[in-house]
């Protein structure tokens, strides 16, 4: 689960406090929280992550770790895996580990051919991490078309 998805989950657990309320309650710059939650590339710096860890009462390391597993990084991996037709292993939120060939993927889900008769449709927000992991290319602003917000 990317940092954005995890922040959304934490916010939902807080009873749906709004991003503006979080920004007002913390020292986060205006608009940053929404970007961290919604954008596909990793947003926010160490300081912002530390502030949010304090706000939600979760370990800083956990948020920092998720920052490195962004939605965009998953897209990059899925793209390469489907192009090269090589198996990909996904570590899911519920502890399940699934390995298969990527049949299709979009911004919501991934279809894995695991050798069974039917593909497994995995929700992307349930993916904790994956292997193999591609070298993280710079998530520069130019490759930002996926950030449709």
């Amino acid at each position: 689960m990317s940092l954005g998805d995890y922040l959304r989950l934490l916010r939902a657990k807080r009873g749906g406090v709004t991003p503006w309320e979080i920004e007002a309650a913390t020292a986060l710059p205006k608009g940053l929280y929404r970007q961290m939650e919604q954008r596909y590339r990793a947003m926010g710096d160490e300081e912002a992550i530390r502030i949010l860890a304090d706000y939600y009462g979760v370990p800083y390391e956990e948020l920092r770790w998720r920052h490195d597993w962004s939605r965009k990084a998953l897209s990059r991996t899925l793209f390469a895996a489907s192009l090269e037709q090589r198996p990909l292993t996904l570590y899911l939120w519920n502890g399940q580990v699934v390995t298969g060939r990527v049949l299709w993927w979009d911004l919501g889900a991934v279809a894995l051919d695991m050798g069974a008769a039917e593909p497994l449709i995995v929700q992307r927000h349930a993916v904790e991490r994956w292997a193999p992991r591609l070298d993280a290319a710079a998530d520069d602003g130019e490759d930002d078309d996926e950030d449709a917000d």
Binding site: L92, Q123, D144
Partner: protein
């Protein structure tokens, strides 16, 4: 009983110009209304009534010409009265003797702009271009035959222009664009549409570890509604889902011999 517009105006002791101004209408148009040359437009009637402090029904739509008044003459079109262009102005040589022409003093010739130091943006651009061309500042200095520090703003601009041209001639590496599928949930929507059309049963695994099995009867970008074996409809929020698949049908047991 309705009255002529000119009568009402005179009763109120106001001029045509004042009435036109109050009603926000061209004076010529009001004159035409008063002379009866034109019947009052419905949209203008309300304005005129307000300007005269009367009811709309008090004004005759078509005024009778005022007794003894000459018929209103229309203004000729503007084109016809446009003055002929004036004769060309006499040249200074042909100016009458008593009039002095003030001569403009000759503009002093510029003696070259002062040398200005390079802009910070130019230096940043230079650094960027050198990086992209895989070149060092020393190499560029060797090419130019002078140190970069000695270049002024204009000279550096010329250098940047040359480097930019060189960069265009160098084949650039292929840039990876966003790995964007056709649409946000294009493929999942197709999958669910097919499952719904075929009446397939899907098995969903939720975040809390539970599973739900049912026939897809509808879905949106955020939820999937299924009908389970009991006939109950359950809407699953996609955020609560980990994965789903078509369950493998149990093989039919062979009848005992």
């Amino acid at each position: 009983m309705a009255e002529n517009l000119w009568f009402l105006r005179e009763q109120k002791k106001i001029s045509v110009a004042t009435l036109a101004s109050r009603a926000g209408l061209p004076i010529g148009l009001v004159m035409e209304y008063e002379s009866g040359q034109r019947s009052i437009d419905r949209r203008h009637l309300a304005r005129l009534a307000r300007a005269l402090y009367v009811e709309e029904s008090d004004i005759k739509l078509q005024s009778d010409p005022r007794p003894g008044a000459a018929p209103l003459e229309r203004q000729p079109p503007r084109e016809a009265v446009r003055p002929v262009p004036a004769a060309p102005q006499p040249t200074p040589a042909a100016q009458p003797a008593g009039r002095k022409i003030r001569e403009r003093p000759p503009r002093p010739k510029t003696v070259g702009r002062p040398s200005l130091p390079p802009r910070p943006s130019q230096l940043a651009h230079l650094e960027n271009l050198l990086k992209r061309l895989n070149k060092t500042a020393a190499e560029l200095e060797a090419e130019l035959g002078k140190p970069l520090a000695g270049l002024d703003r204009r000279a550096l601009s010329a250098v940047l222009h040359d480097l930019q041209t060189k960069l265009k001639s160098v084949p650039q590496p292929v840039r990876h664009r966003a790995y964007l599928p056709e649409a946000v949930d294009e493929f999942e929507a197709r999958y669910l549409t097919a499952a719904q059309a075929a009446g397939d049963r899907l098995q969903f695994t939720l975040f809390d570890g539970s599973t739900v099995e049912g026939q897809v009867i509808g879905f949106s970008p955020y939820s999937i509604t299924v009908r389970n074996a009991d006939g109950a409809e359950i809407t699953l929020n996609k955020l609560a889902l980990v994965s789903y698949t078509r369950p493998v049908a149990a093989p039919a047991q062979e009848p005992a011999p």
